[in-house]
């Protein structure tokens, strides 16, 4: 028994060492046939399962776009719902290939966790939601409030900084899951619910009487949200980065999922390069040259994704604001495909 066991252990050890110096993420993904994407546990508009159990949302679309770029199939993706606390460990350990979970890009996360942020797909900021009947109109009147939020987020730190900077006493009540935060706020345990402003609009829909609550005008932090990949695999990092860039460039060039086939015949050299008619840009990131065509065909450009998930015609009703293209006065500015 034992002399059978030893080679087994040694074999396992060698095997593990081999994985440690492993194949690239892209090869692994092509091998298994799908992308494992880390998303939230349910944030309407960003990543939320619909009535049929299909994941939808702005963050989900990004994963579907990456699957389209790699496989030409928006369904070649599996989703792992992660709490704020679990998300980085899940990505570090390889449980997910990409984390697209309304995650704020900060320096410590980018530099100390062995992760890379591949861009920003939503410019957000932290806000406060209160009951209208409190009569509060500004965050500076929140002195003495009890504040409900999620544990393990930048939110907790921003609240501490804001209340301390303004010399206001407060009490923090931090829950593991967003659903419990909503329930506790709804029950009146807290006067204030704080998270990213987009999250406030999304979570407000879950309250008993959404109309009784308002989001205060102050935005107390910068929260650039974006997809995250593991550090040290530049090929996969490039795919994540350029998937996002392709969606933004497509909007800028007016290419949509509806007209992408016609656009292939366009004379505009930028569109030709984006859709793989000219040049071999797909090869540069280890993919086929119609990678961006597949993204736009299957998922659409950034505007389509935004309007379908969080835009003015959705229950969230968020306007483009700073998330408009740079040419429309917003922050969205993608490097050109050239």
């Amino acid at each position: 028994m034992t002399n059978k066991f030893l080679p087994l252990v040694l074999g396992a050890a060698l095997g593990a060492t081999a994985t440690a110096a492993s194949a690239t993420t892209l090869e692994d993904i092509k091998g298994k046939g799908f992308i494992q994407c880390g998303v939230s546990q349910g944030l309407p508009g960003f990543s939320n399962p619909d009535a049929q159990g299909n994941w939808t949302g702005l963050d989900v679309d990004l994963c579907r776009a990456m699957a389209s770029a790699v496989f030409g199939d928006a369904e070649a993706v599996k989703f792992t719902p992660l709490s704020a606390k679990e998300r980085f460990t899940a990505l570090q350990s390889g449980e997910v290939d990409v984390l697209s979970r309304n995650t704020t890009w900060t320096m410590s996360r980018d530099t100390q966790l062995g992760l890379n942020f591949a861009g920003v797909n939503y410019y957000d900021g932290q806000g406060f939601m209160v009951r209208k009947d409190l009569g509060v109109t500004s965050a500076l009147e929140l002195s003495g409030a009890s504040v409900c939020t999620n544990t393990g987020t930048t939110t907790e730190l921003n609240v501490a900084d804001y209340f301390r900077a303004n010399n206001m006493p407060y009490e923090i009540v931090a829950f593991e899951k967003a659903d419990e935060v909503v329930a506790a706020y709804d029950a009146g345990r807290c006067d204030v619910y704080t998270t990213d402003a987009s999250g406030l609009y999304a979570q407000r829909l879950k309250l008993t009487n959404p109309g009784d609550h308002m989001v205060l005008p102050e935005i107390i932090s910068k929260e650039p949200l974006g997809p995250v990949v593991r550090q040290g695999d530049d090929e996969w990092f490039n795919i994540a980065k350029w998937t996002l860039n392709a969606m933004i460039n497509a909007e800028e060039l007016g290419v949509t999922s509806a007209n992408v086939d016609e656009m292939k015949g366009s004379d505009n050299p930028s569109i030709k390069r984006l859709l793989g008619v000219d040049g071999a840009f797909g090869e540069g990131i280890g993919l086929s040259n119609d990678w961006a065509y597949n993204i736009i065909k299957n998922v659409g450009n950034y505007e389509e994704s935004f309007n379908a998930n969080v835009g003015p015609d959705t229950p969230l009703g968020i306007s483009r604001g700073v998330n408009a293209l740079w040419s429309d006065g917003g922050f969205l500015y993608a490097a050109p495909v050239r």
Partner: protein, 405 residues
Amino acid sequence: MAVMEQDSAQAPARASLVNDPKVRGLFYQVLLIGTLIFFGYFIVSNTIANLERQNIASGWGFLDISAGFGTSQALVDYTESSSYGRAIFVGFLNTLFVAVVGIFFATIIGFIVGIARLSNNWVVRQISYWYVELVRNVPLLLQIFFWYFAVLRAVPDKRDKWSFGFENFHLNITGLYGPKPVWEPGSAFIGYALIIAIAATFFIAKWAKKRQDATGQQFPIFRTALGLIICLPVITYLMTGMPMYLEHPNFVEEGPILRRGFELGVGARLIPEFLALTAALAIYTAAFIAEIVRAGIQAVNHGQTEAAHALGLRNSPTLRLVIIPQAMRVIIPPLTSQYLNLTKNSSLAVAIAYPDLVSMGGTVLNQTGQAIEIIAIWMAVYLSLSLITSAFMNWYNQRMALVER
């Protein structure tokens, strides 16, 4: 017999080392331990290598960095500028607090319900029976949510209150408020008086037992102890000029709406998360303890009661001196594992925002990303808490075990 003896006597001389069962046994054991050590070494070195390769920060330096987040309950001084290490320590104390209070109430409720299960009264017996069956068959997490969310909605909101206990205690959605003793210089003597009273009680009890063993005379030890432990500190309190007063919670009814309600940091307060968690843990564990107590009492043969009665003992000393000491032998070992369960179950606190070790540690984990270190701390703390509890219960079990003569 003779043949066998001859065999075994001759065997070692003839056999090579390979066939010697002793040597073979030793060889395999060394091999197994060696493999385990190698395996452990491999895991650790591989982890360190992988962390370095992926540029993930590691080490214990993060414990000194300023945490930057707040908490709703800290038993020691803690602010946002305290260190991560301090934050984890605050979480540890909160875990300890909820475990100790939970164990205290679980034991009381458990013993009462367990004895009630054997009551002659049909109603009492049925109530305790249904209590046990209902409570222990519903998952604990659901019970925690029930106590938290159901009770939260039942009590008055932040700017209102229920008062009881001669207006000394108040309850609303932000917690249970009561007077807080504030100690002034000189109050240490009250503490000394309490220690002296406890020590004196201990020695008097020893003396009383010795005298009873020698002469059969009994001494009213319970009343004496009560008198000593209450009177001595009270006398000291009066003699040192009353260096302690009660700070009552301050209920504000005017001013900015968010400042109304109880003022933060004045008076004593138990947060609703703590109340809900303690209630859920105590009530849940009590159901199991009740069954252990019932089983323990039933394990004592009824003949023991009859024998005690035949010796002229009345009901109360029969229970105290004959039944319970024998029942305790059966009760203590499973009781220990219930205490351990309660302590470990307290980590469900994270679901309702009670800042326990897992919740505070989890926040630190998320801010620093040092998962391995934090998880090592979690495991070490729960392991030590459990080992300390079992060591204490084993010691107590030895004391309670019947001495055979």
